[in-house]
């Protein structure tokens, strides 16, 4: 549906660099990244507000790189709604109808339907300054939907709303996406929101695409240190390569990654890093026979995190202590104690990345 090929654009103070990205029809792509990463600019490049210096943009197979925004059929919804303040809700919804084919009656019908769908049909004659944030955002979404866009771009649509309104609107957006078979690109800085909303996630960092794929992959196999940091990975260790070609192992202190744990993106340049997934590490008490990735250590921290218990273990030869999450159930059976000696069974709960 949407394809960006090596899209670059340079501004005096910022640039989008070599973004290649494909979105299928009906897909819900969450674009996530820290503030100032270029997420909004990427949307505006797609919308046609800015033209790329290099690269091409395709929409439904058609090259739209140089097409003005009004010819692209892309709907845009901003965080701060930007309803036209001189028009009431009904006029806002109907704004785009003038540029579409169809008679007046079918247009009014369309506005009414959309208003009903979004639950704003009782607000038709109100102006934006009398509306709540949630109502405004519904009108903004409705205004875009009336024109039946091929793609809907949402720029932090829920960030300005209070939590309960945001939660409700999230569910509504999801069901809207399903029922109307929309293709949606949803920008957010909130990873949890991105995971909940998106079929897949694009991670943007400083104008570059860092990751594109399923949320689970981003969490379990972050391709870069930035991605690992963004998803809140703990247990990131600088590692080194050992052994001969073909038998190469990535080693950080006593932890050894099997060759199979290599980076799926295939990037093998730069310094190797090991990430140990804290929720996949087993905790064995007392003495255990030595074995691969069985790490003896001392518990130096315990924190009850609600859904799980975080245990911090200091291990000889590891520069940073190892963090392990254990379930509440296993914590109830055998609560770890500070200062106790334990063995952490890291096994294959390891991800390797190079940077």
């Amino acid at each position: 549906m949407i394809r960006l090929e090596h899209v670059s654009r340079r501004w005096p103070e910022f640039s989008i660099r070599d973004v290649t990205l494909e979105v299928r029809e009906g897909q819900y792509l969450a674009i996530v990244g820290p503030t100032g990463a270029g997420k909004t600019l990427l949307l505006e490049l797609l919308l046609g507000i800015h033209n790329p210096d290099q690269g091409r943009i395709f929409l439904g197979g058609e090259d739209v790189t140089l097409l003005p925004p009004e010819k692209r059929g892309i709907g845009m919804v901003y965080q701060d709604y930007l309803l036209f303040p001189h028009l009431n809700v009904e006029q806002n919804l109907a704004f785009g109808l003038r540029y579409r084919q169809g008679n007046r009656e079918s247009g009014r019908q369309k506005v009414r339907e959309t208003a009903r769908l979004l639950g704003i049909d009782h607000l038709m004659h109100r102006y934006q300054y009398t509306l709540s944030g949630g109502e405004k955002q519904r009108v903004a979404i409705g205004r875009a939907l009336v024109t039946e866009p091929r793609v809907l771009l949402l720029d932090e649509p829920l960030s300005a709303l209070d939590r309960s309104t945001a939660r409700r609107l999230r569910t509504e957006l999801k069901s809207l996406h399903r029922s109307k078979k929309l293709t949606i690109l949803h920008v957010t800085h909130d990873l949890a929101e991105a995971r909940q909303m998106g079929d897949s996630i694009a991670l943007i960092n400083d104008g570059e695409l860092d990751f594109l794929g399923a949320a689970a992959d981003l969490l379990r196999r972050p391709p870069t240190l930035f991605a690992a940091n963004f998803v809140g990975a703990v247990n990131v260790y600088q590692a080194r390569l050992e052994g001969e070609d073909g038998e190469r192992r990535v080693v950080a202190g006593p932890i050894v990654a099997q060759p199979g744990a290599a980076n799926p993106s295939g990037r093998h340049t730069g310094m190797p890093h090991l990430i140990v997934h804290p929720d996949e590490v087993g905790l064995l008490s007392g003495e255990t026979a030595p074995g691969p990735n069985l790490l003896r250590g001392e518990i130096v921290g315990i924190a009850d995190e609600g859904n799980y218990v975080e245990v911090v273990i200091r291990i000889d030869d590891l520069p940073e202590p190892l963090t392990v999450y254990i379930s509440r159930q296993s914590a109830r059976d055998r609560m770890p104690e500070l200062g106790a000696s334990v063995t952490a069974d890291v096994g294959n709960a390891i991800h390797v990345l190079y940077e």
Binding site: E44, L47, G48, I49, P68, P69, E70, R72, I74, G75, M76, Y78, L82, F84, P85, H86, F95, G96, R98, Y99, R100, Y127, Y129, A140, R143, A144, T147, P149, L153
Partner: protein, 317 residues
């Protein structure tokens, strides 16, 4: 906003308006009116809030009194002219045919000059508000130039271009038999020169207040750049555009220096006033001056009121 603080200040800032006003009437011997205004001022100050006067607010009282003197300086001559001229003489002046024709000429030429300024000034204001380009600061400086150039000099400079022998005036004269000097269009020309900065600056400031993303949304809905401009940007800035137009028109009406240089005839109202003053002196000219003042004030107040009468809530804030 700290509304408590705001009210505290506004309470005695009424002095700024009421004290000069009551002094004016005191000077004219209308003691009852002066007393009434002063009483109203004190009442208004009390209604606005009963502040606990704090020592550190005293500078604000001094500021208000100093500001009041400045207001007095403006208001005193104006009111003096209006109140010390007999209404019957003003009326008689309004019926004078040379005054009448000069008045309509001035208002008409100023109106045309305002329209021209709008047609060329609004696009310029939009470009200045939306685009960044090399030399932008220079362009903005050029827009403000007519404000600082002495207007007689502006008139002479214009003559060199648009006069009978000017580089634009000569071919116009030769090819189309159009003479700009000493003609209606010469007056308009001078008025555009001095009045245009207000339209451009007001338009630019108005456009700056409209979020460009608002236009982006309009375009995502199918509007072309021009359509978004007329359906979104203009409706959100008409107040700024109107006040720019009023300023330009008022400036054009009051222009004398450049107009007199480029087109002494036909006489505008200011030229007429200047001539009468030179030939007949101060007393004779006074009713005409009062008449003009009334006309100017009426237009000014009426046009300033228009935006306030319409609902302000629709505007983007």
């Amino acid at each position: 906003m700290n509304s408590f603080r705001y009210r505290q200040v506004s309470a005695f800032s009424h002095l700024l308006v009421f004290i000069p006003l009551s002094i004016v009437f005191l000077l004219f011997g209308r003691y009852a009116i002066a007393a009434a205004i002063l009483a109203a001022g004190i009442l208004a100050a009390r209604l606005a809030g009963k502040p606990r006067r704090r020592k550190n607010d005293r500078p604000l009282i001094v500021f208000s009194i100093l500001g009041g003197i400045l207001i007095l300086f403006i208001v005193l001559p104006i009111l003096n002219l209006l109140f010390t001229t007999e209404p019957s003489r003003i009326l008689a002046m309004a019926r004078d045919s040379s005054v009448e024709s000069a008045l309509f000429l001035t208002l008409g030429a100023a109106g045309v000059a305002t329209l021209i300024s709008l047609v060329f000034g609004i696009p310029l204001g939009y470009v200045l508000a939306r685009e960044q380009f090399a030399g932008k600061a220079a362009v903005e400086g050029i827009v403000d130039m007519p404000v600082v150039i002495p207007h007689t000099i502006a008139g002479i400079a214009l003559l060199f271009i648009f006069g009978r022998a000017g580089i634009v005036g000569a071919p116009l004269n030769a090819s189309f038999n159009v003479i700009l000097s000493d003609s209606f269009w010469g007056i308009v020309l001078a008025m555009v020169f001095v009045g245009m900065p207000f339209v451009v600056n007001h338009a630019r400031d108005g456009f700056l207040k409209v979020d460009p993303r608002m236009e982006n949304v309009a375009r995502s809905l199918g509007a072309s750049l021009l359509s978004a401009f007329f359906r979104v940007t203009i409706p959100l800035t008409w107040r700024a555009l109107l006040s720019g137009a009023i300023m330009t028109w008022a400036r054009a009406i009051s222009e004398f220096g450049s107009v007199a240089v480029i087109a002494y005839y036909p006489r505008t109202i200011n030229t007429l006033l200047f001539e009468w003053y030179n030939f007949f002196g101060y007393t004779y000219t006074k009713p005409l001056a009062a008449l003009l003042l009334l006309v100017a004030l009426t237009i000014f107040v009426a046009l300033r009121a228009v935006p306030r009468l319409t609902r302000a809530e629709h505007d983007q804030t």
